[in-house]
Each structure stands twice: as structure tokens, then as C-alpha cells.
């Protein structure tokens, strides 16, 4: 199994998705690729079904908001782990704020179900094909996505504090 390393992993990915991989780097030894969002579900399916790589575990799905990256404001990050090869992979997909949609991978890894709901809850990223995409942690009546960097940190419903003492 020693032949499975980051170089081999990247080679196998580029054979299949060369046009969609925008960049690849290895921060602290963990291969991190930026992938076009249209290929996220096929890429994860490919990595799971690959005879050698066997990425059988989706560690995490999460979101991030970069208000200054024009056209790439929102992103979802996928962490994959191959237990048999003990190798990990991070995939980042960017999308514009105006169109925050990406394919759901919950049909491939059932564990993605709640993680995608949480990402939707906090960042408003819509996972197309998700069986039950609704808020998971916040109150259902909430009308905004609190982890987007569009809002002041403090709760705006607060009435008992004098703003001048809190730098607002």
C-alpha cells in the first residue's frame, strides 16, 4: 500500500478531472485541491469506488464565506479519508454569492446529510438533490444565514444595551 501517496492520488484525480482541478497544494502534508463545483459528486463517487484509493469515509462537509473574493464568495470544503491507505484529501469548491448551489453528496455518503443541512443552515448554500434540506440547529423562523460575514457580530434584537458603550 506504500505506493498510495499524494502524488499518486493527484495523478489519479487528474486523469479523470483534469479540466476541473484549478489548483493543488499540500499544506502540512495534506493534499488540498480546488475543484469545479459541477464535478463534486462525480469526483467523490470516483474516489469512493476507486479500486486502490478506497476513500470510504467522508470526515466533514463545511462552508466558508470570503466576502472579498469576487465570484468566489462562498465555498464548501470536503474532507475525505481512506482508512485502508491512511491518506486524507481536502476538496474545496467555490461558488458566487448570487448562485449558492452545489450537488448534494448525501446519496454517496449518508453521513453528509446532516453536515450539508448544517452548511445550509449557517451559510445558505443549497445542496441540490438533498432529501431534507432544512435548518438543523437554528430556529426555523430565522430569516438569515448567521455565519455569513454580512452581519454585525452582535444580536440586533438587543434593546437593553447602550450602543455607545459597545463601539457600535
Amino acid at each position: 500500500m506504500s505506493e498510495v501517496n499524494n502524488a499518486y492520488l493527484l495523478k489519479e484525480l487528474e486523469e479523470q478531472f483534469a479540466a476541473s482541478i484549478y489548483s493543488a497544494e499540500e499544506p502540512y502534508g495534506m493534499l488540498t485541491i480546488e475543484l469545479d463545483r459541477k464535478d463534486i459528486a462525480p469526483a467523490i463517487q470516483y474516489l469512493k469506488d476507486h479500486a486502490v484509493l478506497k476513500f470510504n469515509f467522508l470526515t466533514d462537509v463545511c462552508g466558508a464565506h470570503f466576502p472579498d473574493k469576487m465570484g468566489k464568495e462562498l465555498s464548501t470544503i470536503y474532507h475525505l479519508h481512506s482508512f485502508t491507505n491512511n491518506i486524507r484529501l481536502r476538496i474545496k469548491c467555490y461558488m458566487p454569492l448570487a448562485d449558492p448551489t452545489i450537488a448534494s453528496v448525501s446519496a454517496i455518503f449518508n453521513g453528509a446529510n446532516w453536515q450539508e443541512r448544517e452548511t445550509f443552515d449557517f451559510f445558505g448554500i443549497e445542496f441540490l438533490g438533498h432529501p431534507n434540506l432544512k435548518r438543523i440547529l437554528n430556529v426555523e423562523e430565522m430569516e438569515y444565514f448567521p455565519m455569513r460575514k454580512e452581519y454585525p457580530l452582535e444580536d440586533q434584537t438587543r434593546t437593553d444595551k447602550d450602543d455607545t458603550y459597545f463601539g457600535r
Binding site: E154, D155, T157, R158, D160, K161
Partner: protein
């Protein structure tokens, strides 16, 4: 000679073989010294409450021997800890299940005002969803402070007029919270 101090009788007329006082005062005296609290403890203030009711501080000295874990049998709702917005309706439901007369004490900064959690997920004080009688400051308050809050509640209970809960003012207060 015992050093145990018992509650003093309310002011009234006393003569040989009789004692007369108003019903308000007699009922208030009985109620104030037998408050059944319902602890609604969500975080560190709840730990301070545990110390308050345990042997060192002994809340039972103030007539609150019996902690009620059913809202239907409780007189005093003690909210101790951070209440998230998602918890708000639950707290309100607990309050609605309590029978009149009922009192509410908000223990600690979070229950009183949201505390340091000035955030999208936290209710900025329980008085956004239910009326509160006494606020205890502190983060968390010491047991002495909680006892002080209970004594303040006792004063309110002792001096409350028997028909306060029927008054227009009280009904307007309830209506402002959308209750009844």
C-alpha cells in the same frame, strides 16, 4: 431557650384568645414561606443553584424545602443559565403550565439579558418571552445572591394583594406577552 427564629406574625389586633389580621396578610405569610421552586437550569448558574439548595446554603431554611420538578405544582420558576432562541418556546410552555399565582426569577446575566452571548442564537433575556419578577445579577451569582433573590421574591409574595392576578394591570401585562 431555643435560638430558632420563626416567622413573625403580621400586624393585627390581638387580645386574650383571639388574633385578627387581614386575609391578604395571612395568605401572603403562608405562601411566602412555602414557595415551591421549579429549577430551569441550563448552565453554570444551575451549578450555583445546586450549591444553594444543598446543605451548606440550604434553601430549605426559607421554606423552599420541596423542589418541584413539575411546573404544574410549582410556584416559582427559577431560570438559571443561557436560554437560546430555540429554547424560548420551551421556557414559555413551562411558564404556561404553571398555575397562578406564579413568580419568575431570572438568575444570572444570561437569563436576565443574554449576558456575554450577544449573538444570533441566544435570547437576549428571558423577559422577551415571559414576565420576570426578580433579576439576580452575576456571572454566575454566588449562592448568597440567589438566596437574596429568593428573599426578594418572598417579600413580593408576602405583600401581594389577593386580587392582583385579577387586576386589569396584570391582565394587560400578560396580554403584552400574548398570554390568554
Amino acid at each position: 431557650m431555643s435560638t430558632i427564629k420563626i416567622t413573625e406574625a403580621p400586624p393585627g389586633l390581638e387580645g386574650s384568645g383571639f388574633f385578627a389580621t387581614s386575609l391578604d396578610k395571612a395568605v401572603g405569610l403562608a405562601r411566602a414561606n412555602s414557595i415551591w421552586p421549579l429549577p430551569f437550569a441550563t448552565s453554570c448558574c444551575g451549578i450555583e443553584f445546586m450549591a444553594t439548595m444543598a446543605s451548606n446554603y440550604d434553601l430549605a431554611r426559607f421554606g423552599s424545602e420541596r423542589i418541584s420538578f413539575s411546573p404544574r405544582q410549582a410556584d416559582l420558576l427559577m431560570v438559571m443559565g443561557t436560554i437560546s432562541k430555540k429554547m424560548g418556546p420551551v421556557l414559555r410552555q413551562v411558564y404556561l403550565q404553571m398555575a397562578e399565582p406564579r413568580w419568575v426569577i431570572a438568575v444570572g446575566a444570561c437569563a436576565s439579558s443574554g449576558g456575554i452571548f450577544d449573538s444570533y442564537s441566544v435570547l437576549q433575556g428571558i423577559d422577551k418571552v415571559i414576565p420576570v419578577d426578580v433579576y439576580v445579577p452575576g456571572c454566575p451569582p454566588r449562592p448568597e445572591q440567589i438566596i437574596d433573590g429568593i428573599i426578594k421574591i418572598q417579600e413580593l409574595v408576602k405583600n401581594e394583594s389577593l386580587n392582583r392576578r385579577e387586576s386589569a394591570e396584570y391582565k394587560a401585562l400578560m396580554a403584552s406577552y400574548g398570554i390568554q
